[in-house]
Amino acid sequence: MGLSTTLSIAQAALQANANQTTVVSKNIAGVNDAGYSRRIASLTTQADGIPTVTVSRSSNTELFNQLLSSTSDAQSADALSSGLDALEQTVNLTSSASNSESSTDKTSVGTSPAALLASLTAALTSYAAAPDNTALGQAFLSDAKALASKLNAASTTVQTVRKQADTDIANAVTDANALLSQFTAVNTAIVTGTATGADISDQQDKRDSILTALSKDMGIVTTTNVDGSMSIYTDSGVTLFDRKPNTITFSPTTTFADGTTGNAVVVAGIPITGSSSVMPLASGSIAGLTGLRDTTTVAYQNQLNQIASGLVTVFADSDQTGGSAATIPGLFTYSGSPAMPSTGQTGLAAAITVNANADPSKGGSLARMRDGNVGDPTNAAYNANTTGAAAFSTRLMALGTALNTAQTFDATSGAAASGTLAAYAGSSVSWLEASRSTATATSTSASALVNQATTSLSNSTGVNLDDQLSQMLDLEHSYSASAELMSTVKSMFGSLISAMQ
C-alpha cells in the first residue's frame, strides 16, 4: 500500500460519486413523471478496494399488474356509466322533480316518455270531460304530438349514443394498434439491451407506460420471456403481441338505426367482441363501449318501442258497428299503417307520429278523436258518434279506460312484463336509473381502485424528493471527503518531494 494506491481509490470514489449523483439527478428529474421508476444506485467495493456503482430500477410486477387490471375495469365501467348518463337526458328526472317541487305548475311532470304520457292522460281526461271544447282538444292533440316527438327524439338519442360508442371503439382500436407498434420498438431494444448487458431502465419505463395506456383500451395480461421480451394477451387470452404485434381490425358503422348491428373487433381473425366471440374481451374501454352499443342501448330502444307499440294499440280505431272492419292505428300511427304493429316492433319509436287526420293544421279534424275515426275518416264503421253530438264523450272515456288497462310487454326488455302503459313507462325510467346508479357506483369504486393502485405503485417505485436530496447531501459529504483526501495526499507528496530536494 502506498500513497498512490490511496490516490487511485480516492479517484475511483470520486468517479463512483459522480455516477451516484447522476442517478440522484435523474431521479429528481423524474419525480413528477408517473411512468418513471426510481433508479437505485448501489455502491459495491471490488476485491482491490475500488468502489463501483451499479444502477438498478425499482419495480413491483404485482402492483403494476394490479394497476393494469384496475385501469381496464375502470375504463369499461366509465364507458357504460357515461353512456347511461347520455341516455338519462331522455328522462331528466332531476328537472322534473324540481319542477313539481316549485308546485306552481303541478301538471308539468318533466320530459320523460313517462311524464309526457301522464300529461297526455291528463289532457285526455280533460278533453273527455268537455269534448265540445276545441281548446281542450287542441291541448290533447299537442300533448300527443309532444309524446310522439319525444319517442322519436329519445330513439335518436339512443342511436346517437350507439354511434358515439362505435366511433369511440374505432378510436380505441386505432390507439391500441399505435401502442402495439410502439411496443415493438421498445421490446426489441430491451431484448438487445438484456443480451448486451446495457442499461435498459429507460426502455422499461417506456414499456410500462405503453402497457398502462393499452390497458385503458382493453384488458391485458402479460408474460415475460427468458430473453427479456414480453408477450401481451387480451384478458380473454387472445394474443396481441408475441415477438410481433397482431393487427386489431374494426370497421365502424356509418349510420346507426334501430336494429343496426355494429361490427366486432377482430384480432388476427379472432373476434374479441360481439355475440360470435368465443373469447370476448372482459374489460377496458372497448369492452365497456361494446356492452353499451350492443346491450344497454338496445334494451332501452326496445323499451321505447314497447311504449310506442302500446300507444298505437291503445289509440287504435276499431269497428264500432260490430262489423268486420279491421282494427287500424288511430291517433298514433306509423309508416306501416294500416297494419297494426307487433309488440315492440323494431323502429317503431322512431317512426311513431300523430295521425294527420286529427290535426287541423294538416287538414284533419279534432272531432275525429272524439268520434273514433281518426284512422279512416271515410269509413263510417269506425264512427262511434253517429249523431254527431258535440259533447260525445263515450269514445274518449273508453280511450282513458284503455290507457289504464294492463297490457303485456316483452318480459326480456328489462322493464315490467305487464301493467298499464304508464306503469311500464315508469318501470323503464326505473330500469334506466337503476342501471345508471349501478354503473356509476361501479365506475366510482373502480376509479378508487385505480387511485389506490397508482398510489401503491408510486410509493413502491416512485421518487421521494426529500430522500433524493438527503442522498445528495451524503454524496456531497463523501465528495468533500474524497477531495480532502486527494488534497492531503497531494500535500504529503509535496512534503516528500521538498524533503528530497
Binding site: 328526472l93 304520457l117 270531460a129 268537455a130 271544447n133 272515456m397 326505473s430 421518487v463
Partner: protein
Amino acid sequence: MVYVSSPSITSVSRQNVLQVQSKLSDAQSELASGVYADVGLTLGARSSQLVALQQQQASLATYQTNNTLATTRLSSTVTSLDSIRTAASSFLSALTTASSSGGLTTSLQTNASSSLAAMTSALNISVSGQYIFGGINTAVQPVTTYTSTAANKTAIDAAFSSSFGTSQTSSSAGSISGTDMQSFLSGSFASMFTASNFTTNWSSASSTPISSEISSGQTINTSVSANEAPFRQLSQAYAMVTEFGGSNFGSAASAAVLSAATSLVSSAINNLTTLQAGVGIAQTAVSDADTALSTQSDILSTQVDAMAGVNQTDLSTSIATLQTQLNATYSVTAQLQKLSLVNYLG
C-alpha cells in the same frame, strides 16, 4: 422500509380537494332546487315510484280543473231550474185562480206565452259556449223558440186543424165540445210531447246527459237535458194555454184546457223538484270529490318531497362541514408544500 413517493403525497390532497368540491357543488344545487342534485342516481330502481307519484299528481290536478267546469255547469243549471220552477209555481197559482173564478182569461194566455219564452231562454243558456241543457249535443241551441213560423207552432196548428177542421183562432172553434177538446189534448196534442217525439219539433237536445269523471273511476251525470219530463210537461201546458186559452173557445173546452194544464203543471213542479234534488246530489258529489282530491294531492306532494326532496337543515349543516373540510385540506396542502428539504439547503 416504508417509502412514500412525492407525487402520492400531493395527489392525496389534490383528490381530496376535488372530491370535497364536487360534493359542495352538488350541495349548492340541492340548496337551490330543493331536490337531490341527481335524483335518478339517488333513487335508482325506486325512480318509477317517483314517476308514478308525479303521474298521479298530474291526474289529480286534471280532475280538479275538470270539476271546476262541472261545478260551474251545475250551478248554472240550478239557477235556471230555480227560475223555471218559480215561473211554473206562479203559473200554477194563476191557473188555480182562473179555475175558481170560472175560466181562462187573456192575461193567463199572455202569462203562458211569456212563461214559455222565459223557460225557452232559461233552457237555451250557454256557459262558455256550451249549451248546458243540450245533453251531449252542446253545440246546438236545445229548445226551438216558439214563434209563429217555428216548427213546433206549425205542428200544433196542423194537428188542431186536422182534428177539428178549423184554426184555433177561428170563431168556429167555439163549437168544440169539452169531450172533443179533452180527447184532442190527450191524443194527438199530447203525443207531440212524449219523450220520443219531443225532439222532432221542440228540442235539438240529446237525451244523454253530459257525464263527467269527477275522480278516478267515479263518473256522474253533470248536466240536465232539455228533454227531461218536467220541461216537456211545462212546454205542453204553456203551449196548450197559449194556443187554446182564447176567448173564442166554449166554456167546456176551456175547462178541459184548464184542467189538463193544471194537472200537467203540478206534476211538472214535482218532477222539477226531483230533478233539482238530483243536481244537488251531483253538486255534493263534485265538492266531496274535490275535497278528497285536494287531500290526496297534499299527501302526494308530501311523498314526492320525501322521495326527491332534501332536508334543508341537514343540507346547511353538511355544507358547513364540507367548507371546514375544504379549509383544512387547503391548509394541509399549503403546509406540506412548505415542508421540503430544498428550503433548508443553503
